[in-house]
Symmetry: C2
Subunit: 346 residues, 2 copies
């Protein structure tokens, strides 16, 4: 392992893997001046006509027939130009004194969601979002064929204070040889619940929410969106299928079309209620079930050990570092109140 | 438990307590416009002469003799005017359907570090910081007498993007009836390590750092400051005693004077290297050892199960929501490089 390759390193105290992405090349001096917005010159590498400004595409979905479209494509997936992880190499695990590290193997892709530069997801039509959700499913399915990859993470940053460096609507996919800490805690919680009760914890949570009703944002026969009981942030939303499904790749086309409708509904309500807030969403799906089970007792009941969902986090409060240092959150808006407010938006 | 009192609520999936602080009164409309800086009118409630603008003081340290001082006090501790937790009441644990909650009992104090409005900790003299560190110790010791309180957390936000709403240098103390998640993970890691090896994990980490040397920022006979092996953020620092000590309240005056010197050294280097960056620091000390042990096997070896330390997190990178949604961090600056850069500052 050479020093200028990215590495996963394990935090022995906080029990989590961190990516030390030295290839991204942030040197100390880079932090001394505030970063300029990447698009200050008005050039967008994701707009139609600039296809040669991104690395060679992994996937391209043709433009939908019968629609005005500035390009021949509707959705494009390309490798991240500044990847935190590289596809090449074997994820060899090494001791480094008392510490542990792994070569930074993985994938880091960008999903250009639409050819339209100014078309936020909250305003896009459902058919377009449906197409995007299918692209997520296809990329996850494809990356799962790589048995080095334990987890495939889909996420989106909207707005610069949510971490988006380019305005053009895009999501990211990161495939890693380790499971992100929050997902792995959720897996443990679900597994422990299932071991005792032989029921899915998230199914139980959803049942409680449909009984209480006061935290529901919107609901249909197949999907529910609610503000979680212990929301860390104001207007946090949890979107999940009401039926048990552990892995997002198992979602059918019909279901993904309904999910697109729920997702757009929630984003539209947030946009109207909070004046287009910055937000992040993260798809928490099952780990890569095609990876050879290392601990048989763990994988035995994998189908009941997780229940995929989307966590949507509006970025409204400024306080942040305290939370990073403690894992403790103070939320000034009760989820019941946030949900009531969002339900009232028509 | 009435609906308009703060509550601790447990996140069943992510296994952590969250404070739903409804008394702080953030209503949906509050989020629609960016907050104005609290001091836009130039008035500072923490400056000398405005002592009546804060709640009645808990502790006041007289001005040091022989020094120019605009007030009769050097450090003041007052209750937070907008507390997330209240001192009154019993922390009754209640089921709420499938969920769990506790009345929001605790303490939330503000430490006004100096009478000088423009005197950041990095520039203050060591004797003043020593006094502040003694105040932390005194407040922790006093709050530990309250057996309802399991954990006392001292933290500081410097700079508005690190969450400081007032410019006047201040820290905060929050005492809770639950242990913050990150601290409780650290406790578990230390306990597991000690069970197997009968050694303190943090002592072992420090030994590794003094062997490797390439992540050390500064070191003396009693204290070490280093960039952790799996730093989540660029220029993150970990400051700890080189000798085993589980609880900060056990630190002697002589030691706290040396700690003040190390802390100031690190802050000064950060200030010079990175142009006065915003930062947070958090003191991770032992839980309240005066609380009656609930699980005897846990508390048996408490003296070896933790090792207090300060985690200092400069706020240089913008990306944040992704980390919140996954617990996964990408750090673009290897800690070896950050430490080398900080060591070179004279």
């Amino acid at each position: 392992m050479t020093e200028n390759q990215s590495q996963y390193r394990f935090d022995l105290l906080q029990k989590r893997w961190v990516i030390i992405a030295s290839e991204r090349g942030k040197r100390p001096n880079d932090f001394q001046v505030p970063k300029e917005p990447a698009e200050s010159d008005g050039f967008c590498p994701f707009c139609p006509g600039h296809e040669d400004k991104t690395p060679a595409e992994i996937l391209s979905i043709p433009a939908m027939p019968g629609r005005t479209n500035p390009s021949r494509w509707q959705v494009r997936v390309v490798p991240n130009k500044f990847p935190a992880l590289r596809v090449e190499g074997q994820p060899v695990r090494e001791a480094d004194g008392i510490y542990d590290r792994i070569l930074g193997v993985g994938a880091h892709e960008v999903v250009i969601e639409t050819p339209q530069h100014h078309s936020p997801m909250a305003e896009r039509d459902i058919e377009e979002t449906f197409l995007l959700l299918k692209v997520y499913r296809e990329r996850i399915r494809d990356l799962m064929n790589d048995r080095r990859l334990k987890y495939i993470l889909v996420f989106k940053n909207h707005g610069s204070s949510a971490g988006a460096t380019l305005h053009h609507p895009h999501s990211q996919i990161m495939a890693t040889t380790v499971t992100p800490r929050i997902v792995s805690t959720e897996l443990t919680s679900c597994r422990e619940h299932h071991q005792v009760k032989e029921r899915c914890l998230i199914c139980d949570l959803i049942k409680q929410e449909t009984t209480d009703r006061d935290r529901i944002i919107c609901i249909d026969d197949r999907y529910i969106a609610f503000c979680p009981y212990a929301s860390r942030f104001p207007f946090e939303a949890f979107i999940a299928p009401r039926f048990h499904q552990h892995d997002y790749v198992n979602a059918s086309d019909d279901d993904l079309r309904l999910l697109a409708s729920t997702l757009r509904d929630v984003l539209w309500r947030l946009k109207l209620a909070l004046d287009d807030p910055p937000y992040n969403f993260v798809l928490h799906s099952s780990p890569n079930t095609r990876v050879i089970p290392r601990r048989a007792h763990y994988w035995d009941t994998i189908e009941f050990d997780f229940h995929w969902h989307i966590e949507l986090l509006p970025r409204l409060t400024r306080v942040a570092g305290f939370e990073w240092g403690t894992g403790f959150y103070i939320n000034p808006t009760p989820p019941e109140e946030a949900a009531r407010f969002l339900r009232q938006i028509s």
